[in-house]
Symmetry: D2
Subunit: 381 residues, 4 copies
Amino acid sequence: MTEMHKLRMGMVGGGPGAFIGPVHKMAAELDGRIELVAGAFSQSHERSRDAASTYRIDPARAYANYQEMIAAELSRPDPIDFVAIVTPNHLHLPVAEAALKAGFPVMSDKPATATFAEAIALEKAVAESQLPYGLTHTYAGYALVREARAICSSGQLGQIRKVAVEYLQGWLSQPIETTGQKQAAWRSDPALNGPGGCIGDIGVHAFHLLEYVTGLQVTELNASLLSVVPGRRLDDDCTAMLSMDNGAGGSLMASQVAAGEGNGLRLRIYGEVGSLDWRQEDPNRLRLKWLDGPEEIRHAAGRYLSDDARVVTRLPGGHPEGYIEAFAVLYREFADALAAWKGGSVAPMPDTLPGIVAGVRGMRFIDRAIESSRSKSWVKF
Amino acid sequence: MTEMHKLRMGMVGGGPGAFIGPVHKMAAELDGRIELVAGAFSQSHERSRDAASTYRIDPARAYANYQEMIAAELSRPDPIDFVAIVTPNHLHLPVAEAALKAGFPVMSDKPATATFAEAIALEKAVAESQLPYGLTHTYAGYALVREARAICSSGQLGQIRKVAVEYLQGWLSQPIETTGQKQAAWRSDPALNGPGGCIGDIGVHAFHLLEYVTGLQVTELNASLLSVVPGRRLDDDCTAMLSMDNGAGGSLMASQVAAGEGNGLRLRIYGEVGSLDWRQEDPNRLRLKWLDGPEEIRHAAGRYLSDDARVVTRLPGGHPEGYIEAFAVLYREFADALAAWKGGSVAPMPDTLPGIVAGVRGMRFIDRAIESSRSKSWVKF
Amino acid sequence: MTEMHKLRMGMVGGGPGAFIGPVHKMAAELDGRIELVAGAFSQSHERSRDAASTYRIDPARAYANYQEMIAAELSRPDPIDFVAIVTPNHLHLPVAEAALKAGFPVMSDKPATATFAEAIALEKAVAESQLPYGLTHTYAGYALVREARAICSSGQLGQIRKVAVEYLQGWLSQPIETTGQKQAAWRSDPALNGPGGCIGDIGVHAFHLLEYVTGLQVTELNASLLSVVPGRRLDDDCTAMLSMDNGAGGSLMASQVAAGEGNGLRLRIYGEVGSLDWRQEDPNRLRLKWLDGPEEIRHAAGRYLSDDARVVTRLPGGHPEGYIEAFAVLYREFADALAAWKGGSVAPMPDTLPGIVAGVRGMRFIDRAIESSRSKSWVKF
Amino acid sequence: MTEMHKLRMGMVGGGPGAFIGPVHKMAAELDGRIELVAGAFSQSHERSRDAASTYRIDPARAYANYQEMIAAELSRPDPIDFVAIVTPNHLHLPVAEAALKAGFPVMSDKPATATFAEAIALEKAVAESQLPYGLTHTYAGYALVREARAICSSGQLGQIRKVAVEYLQGWLSQPIETTGQKQAAWRSDPALNGPGGCIGDIGVHAFHLLEYVTGLQVTELNASLLSVVPGRRLDDDCTAMLSMDNGAGGSLMASQVAAGEGNGLRLRIYGEVGSLDWRQEDPNRLRLKWLDGPEEIRHAAGRYLSDDARVVTRLPGGHPEGYIEAFAVLYREFADALAAWKGGSVAPMPDTLPGIVAGVRGMRFIDRAIESSRSKSWVKF
């Protein structure tokens, strides 16, 4: 393998009308380490080839399903190096299991699976395969999320006392799942999506970000899940009170009926002597407030940032990086892990890249939030 | 009474070291309708006279307690026209009762009383007196809070689906009540403050703002009150999930241990087609977001604002008004009510000015939040 | 004179339709040190008494012109202590001269006079009278302008290399002076306003702020003054390049036809190692950026602020103070100066309060900008 | 040519230590239409191959100079389709001339050339070649710059009266060109950079953005160029007053010694009834202010945006796109133009993509600004 070699990615999902498929491709390829070469993009050869054409890849490697892709690629001299899963949630487990069984590392969109039970099954499959498994909790790839994480672990804020995370969108304010909007349709169908609507689609991102940045774990929660839009089968609005393993209290709010909001993920962490505040829609700034000092804004690419934050930035200060770049950081770390991995032993994954452990915790969170809301009570995590 | 006559205010509380006393004075006098002329500022003649000197009022009208003030003023040819109460909470009820009994209208700092039972007693006293009673929920005086209220009542946002209010301060992050900080000391003492710490001091402001702007009422809540700082006797951090009388869900967050925060009151209201967002620390702007249109920022004094918002503004656009000006709006409305009121019948109070009804609801909210947190369960309001 | 005594203010100007008269009253009285008791508010007894009624002062002290006011007040046992001038510009000099000659200190709205020649005459009158003279360059009263000034004088930014000040308004975007808008009418009439339109109304504020904060002086300038609205007799838009006495370059932009702007005064100062940025429409924050460190936001009332900034704040952090409060700081400093002054010698004025020196420089700036624009060339200050 | 074919790019410049080379690669490849396959990255085979390895391209296509690249590629069966120029400025003309002569379209970094005379020569070369030529004025690729342009051309703001553009950086606040910083070194050397320092590096971006968005042209200017850092051979700070061809006035400010600034490009346009404000460091929002209505913030991907703005966005609202994405828009438009172009006639270029006309105007601007500053006078454009 020369230095020129790029890792070859085979994608499952991401056909016509998909949002996240093209994002995975752009993100995977951005840093020049990975190349999309094959895919089971859609459920017919014709539509899959259409996608291949759009992606400008060889139509011979456009498959009608993941089983076919895995079989065909295994028999090529230049097979794919890993599988990216960008399907609706109900396929995450079967695709991942098949890929791992065939020896392909997996990079999966979130949530890990459709149900908590499936997550346990996936955890087992990953462990048995000893293969790399990454989960694209995109926001973990932002430089200033890395900075926030470094700040929390450094203890600069003092002991963490209070956490507040929110993720507000408005795009499901109307019942667009009934009008052919493909993204809304599968997300509102329990069979394709799993039992958690908003909580599973974006609440789990908020939950992950919270634990990822603070290093704390939720131990108890009390959630209220609502289906605000008449006729909607899954929750579209969630509020939860949290208790963390260090005694801190917290709150989590997620909504897809917050009319006018775009992609309003925000995390605030309050410690004894200071606090931090990060907003996805203004991702290149991290706000810090101190008990006895001026407010501080750390900017992406600042020379004063932690190494963890600096290594994931591509441009000088003032040149905005965004969602695709953050996503690409996760793929770059996955590529690094694959490059470092020799096979034959458990793949060492960097702790900055979300993996199966985060995946299982996320699915557990969804499960517990649904149970808490159903019983209208506090539940153990 | 010539046009020159200003209403004469007698204040109870507001002596040396007080924060809110001088604010009441500046606010009451700002629009030239009211004049502070007398006070029981502190609990000795000497300290009360010191305060009188600071306030530049006649030392002969500096009293050692409210009973003395009421008696002395009643015997003057130019008695006070009303009583302003700015004491710690435990005195709100007795002072108000005594003033009302003596025929003096009352303008009281919030919360209405120290306990819910007291609030009921006060409600009775107000009703029996038929006198004007106002409650300084300051934030109700901001022009853009008035605009937000007008927007909600107009139905422009569509049916309200979700509300989120937060009030974050950091000044009690350390146990400063043990170091002689007077403001912190009485607020942390249940005997002087009542049973609600943070929930009673600022949570009640957040609650009031929410109901004031939306016109909705909380019907159920599930709260978690924490005493974060070791040794503190009352709650200093509160989170609550809410259910509103139109079915909307909500959340309320209040904290005095949010290190680095100043006076971070923020209200967000989400309707079917749009949402609004107001922040006390940026009070002259109101943000509106729409399902299908650009974000909008309405500015104080904009010609396009509702009449309700425009009448409370003193300056042209771009000239910031702040906390004192908002406070003064309430005093101006109180003065207007007094000027219009003839006595002998129930005083008509403008519905823009918080009064005893808001006071009772606020005390009920504190009571229910404490009960919910104690029982770790949802409670009816 | 007991401690109760407030300084008695007599106002010239500020009758019906005035904007700045009521602001002077509110600002003068806010801190309880000064009381408006008399005025030549308008040019007839009737309209002046109407104003007196609005201000709730004794109609017997409502005069038809300043000469009458000065004469009548001199013969009272309780005469005014000083004169506030809030007329159109062409009266600033005659009123000030008459007041000073009669022994009354003067607090004048800006600009000092209508023309530079008048400013020289006023400077002489002030010097001969040995009386206190203050000039309400309002923005000098903001806490964070004081902080900015302290930062510049401390050298924290390194040597200042570049300054940029702008003051953008949009209210004269249409020819409203022709439709009876009183504020616009006199400002657009050279006989009442003087030769500098936008440059004299707000450009001079920007100029003052620049010199006030940096401690530097403009030595050369190259200006372009435009009359954008057809038919307007004075400039309504100004741009200038500046050279400062330490070699720094600069720019000044002022406009009253910047459609959509409110009162957008902003000052940026760039030094060798850092810079500061203050915006009047967000006055309680001061932004600092550093060559090698995070951006910083200093908040009004922060304990970390300089003493100069802290002493002018009335409220705890997070409680916004605004335009009236800034204005009141200047009146408070004027009152302090009057209280400290014994008469019989030159009045010592605090260097934080703009006075006649600033007034003369401002008028010189207007004069030089007009000359530069006319000659289309750089001119010495 | 099948649908799979990507356009093959050969790059000149972009070797070790370069900033803009990797950006061109990421941008060119982002949308899957272009692939970097060859380059004269540096001036030795060894260093050029090192770069090829970093870029993961075939080391056989790493050349030591552009002449070699052009000759070698012409003899391949799969030659490059176009040349991207990312060298210091003095090479822009010779490389472009050679490429065009050999029949290769050119995509060049800005400014077009090192001097105005060279720009005229380049214009001639482009015309003679009839080949596509694009110029990467990056900021023209942002969705909300496109929106701003559509707004200006629609007349929504009324006639444009005033323009203000600024571009503030701080990275040259210290003489880092003397300490081996490669980016600073060539930019501070007139032989490599041309005669315009800051004015040529970023002033020209500001100038381009201004004309690109408004559709107006500068007709006169009065500039002041300073070399603030001792020993620096070129200007590092620029201020200019402008006159536009519709009579509007304007200002342009560019600095590389604005300590603390990152990449602060901002454009404000004032019309009769409204204004717009775009800031590169917050690129996904466009602020509009109106004479008689609320402020408006348009967000990238809003359904209400003009088609011109919508077609250049890849992600749903709230998912930030940044500098690389804007850059990629220009490459995508260049790729589209190449795909549409049949050869044998003048290449039709979309008017959204800056080309040689913009390049010549930019070089003229630099030339005129230097002349104005030298003569301290207004000059015709």
